[in-house]
Symmetry: C2
Subunit: 86 residues, 2 copies
């Protein structure tokens, strides 16, 4: 599939349907949606009083935190690689 | 600061206050919150009809997508590193 082609697919996240458009494969979009759904259910099971909106914000907070941690690891790896190449 | 120490800090995301607890530094938590806030405002400005809950879910989708892309890059880097070490 061409990377310039845009896919529009419908996914279910936490009981709500979303139409996602992007240059990614449908399998990638489905994987992302299922990870968000899983994380919302996990956070929701521990915090029954949270409404969907707060639950989704905390899921986003969680994902951005994971992203930044991975970015730190990546920078360490890049430094290691740079040293080996020098 | 000890990494075992838990911090509870209050952050504002999209006009709502959240209490975040974690072993991370307050500056890290504040950075994560401001990134989520920025992303929600960015998505919201392009989709004025979305309610906060859908906006937050799409922000989480976005963050998980970025995470997976970074993970792919990381795996490539790890393979490169492995080859150089072998």
């Amino acid at each position: 599939m061409s990377h310039n082609e845009k896919n529009r697919i419908s996914v279910d996240i936490y009981g709500q349907s979303y139409s996602i458009v992007g240059g990614e494969s449908t399998s990638h979009i489905r994987l992302v949606a299922s990870m968000v759904d899983d994380k919302m259910r996990e956070i929701g099971s521990k915090n029954a009083s949270l409404d969907t909106s707060k639950l989704a914000v905390l899921t986003a907070v969680n994902a951005v935190h994971d992203y930044l941690k991975l970015k730190e690891e990546m920078e360490e790896l890049e430094n290691e690689l740079k040293k080996l190449k020098d």
